[in-house]
Symmetry: C2
Subunit: 297 residues, 2 copies
């Protein structure tokens, strides 16, 4: 049973979190009817991308992420009802002042398998994540689900070959990347095309280097900047799945809501890794410098 149907949910978000949750519940039902077995949401799917500015009152969007938490229980119910694995990205509150950008994984019987906390936290104009999220403290993870062994990394993590490598070395057959990336209108004309190309290319490279599947779910739509007179972000969608050769099997549009299904054959992982045995030849005796920020003379 090496065949699995992945589904990625790509959608826009409005201000009301309940409406966003209802939309995702609907998309999960649609995907499940079409045969989806592992379904991943985009990053922070319950809300607009609030990190566009730094505001104390936005911490009220955070919620507990554990077996007994309301949203996790609701997602667990959907997983059990539809017999699907769900990877969902949430804004986690642990205590006042302790918040994470977290993804939860629920097995196809609704069982809570655990969570991953985003390890690499960005901070750029209109992506002020270091204000909201502490860096993840759980390390890299693999989750053994009914349909596949999967890893989860989140958005900015996608720029780090180390993150993909470590997740693959733990045994992940598919790495999911819930994402919220878009263009700032001022940058789009000059950098837009190459930014998107960089984003897709680096994730395809993780599939190539590690001989695994990569699945990235990104949001769509323009979200206003809460600061008056400033432009917002145009999220570029284009969620995709790449196979272990780095080939994009399917890519969503840049502006439409989609719950799209991608059938994959996990047996390709072994075939590819035998043909191109990169893991065999890793020079683990010589990678120590990876543990330094930069070599200073």
């Amino acid at each position: 049973m090496s065949k699995v149907n992945i589904a990625l949910l790509q959608h826009s978000c409005q201000a009301q979190t309940a409406a966003n949750f209802a939309k995702v519940a609907g998309l999960i039902a649609v995907a499940a009817r079409q045969g989806a077995q592992i379904i991943a949401t985009q990053e922070l799917f319950k809300s607009r991308y609030f990190c566009q500015h730094e505001a104390y009152d936005l911490f009220k969007l955070a919620e507990p992420v554990n077996e007994k938490a309301a949203t996790v229980k609701a997602l667990s119910g959907l997983a059990r009802k539809h017999k699907v694995v769900i990877v969902a990205s949430l804004f986690e509150r642990v205590a006042g002042g302790v918040y994470y950008n977290t993804a939860v994984v629920l097995d196809a019987d609704g069982k809570y398998l655990g969570k991953y906390r985003k390890m690499h936290i960005p901070d750029d104009p209109q992506f002020y994540e270091k204000f909201y999220f502490a860096p993840g403290d759980l390390g890299f993870k693999v989750f053994k689900t009914r349909y596949a062994d999967i890893g989860v990394l989140i958005c900015w993590d996608q720029w780090y070959p180390e993150a993909a490598r470590l997740t693959a070395l733990l045994g992940a057959q598919i790495i999911f990347y819930p994402t919220a990336i878009g263009w700032l209108p001022a940058d789009k004309k000059v950098y837009g095309e190459r930014q998107h190309a960089s984003w897709e290319t680096i994730q395809r490279s993780h599939a190539i280097a590690n001989g695994c599947f990569v699945a990235a779910a990104n949001r769509v739509g323009s979200e206003p900047n809460p600061e008056k007179g400033k432009e917002g972000i145009e999220f570029w969608g284009q969620s995709f799945v790449a196979d272990p050769y780095g080939t994009v099997i399917k890519r969503a549009s840049s502006n439409k809501e989609e719950a799209f299904i991608v059938p994959v054959d996990l047996a390709v992982i072994e075939t590819k890794r035998v043909q191109w045995p990169f893991l065999r030849d890793r020079r683990i005796d010589s990678y120590n410098g990876i543990l330094s920020r930069f070599h200073e003379e």
Copy 2:
């Protein structure tokens, strides 16, 4: 002075090593006349790709690689004459039974700056490199040349994000990849296109992840299989230079000999790294697992 002209030499090889060396000397002269400042050869440019089969008598192709060695001195003379930095790939003999796949770097005044020994050694049908080359024992390197700080990695190294990362962390502004990669005729139809795409994609990803330039020089032409009745290798050329966004600035043809010049602006490295500060957010506290082959339960 952040502008530099890179040149990559892409050519076919014949059985006589002297003829191949003469061809490269000619290409270096041509490139220098066109303004080249740093010139890189393809992998093992002095010979056909002898690793297509395992034969004891092919070790006679190996030669010393140091300041006093004949080929290094000849290359040094060319570097001094043309005022160009030269990165050249050679089959190194240290002693009977001790051979490496090595690249030497000569500064624009002919000075010997050192060598890099290929760290990741492949072994696939018709790429029997583990028979010929011991794994490199010098680690990853950066060479401070007159025109730029450069790193050198060789062919199979290109599949390893660790190698590019470590070289970039040492300060390399440009990573050169002397290469000998091609299609086996039996594979080309099924895997040819995606193999090439994988090869280019992973190297572009190193430019993106590290915010540096990447320059790969690959050979062209079909070389016969020394074993009777077996097909040889069709080297796919397509040498290229990618900028720190992973954009391919220039790509050579798949079948023509070329000495092609690519002007690059090293100032782009700083611009890109400030825009997308990936190095800042590396989780060096959590990358320890990179030093393991695979996580076994």
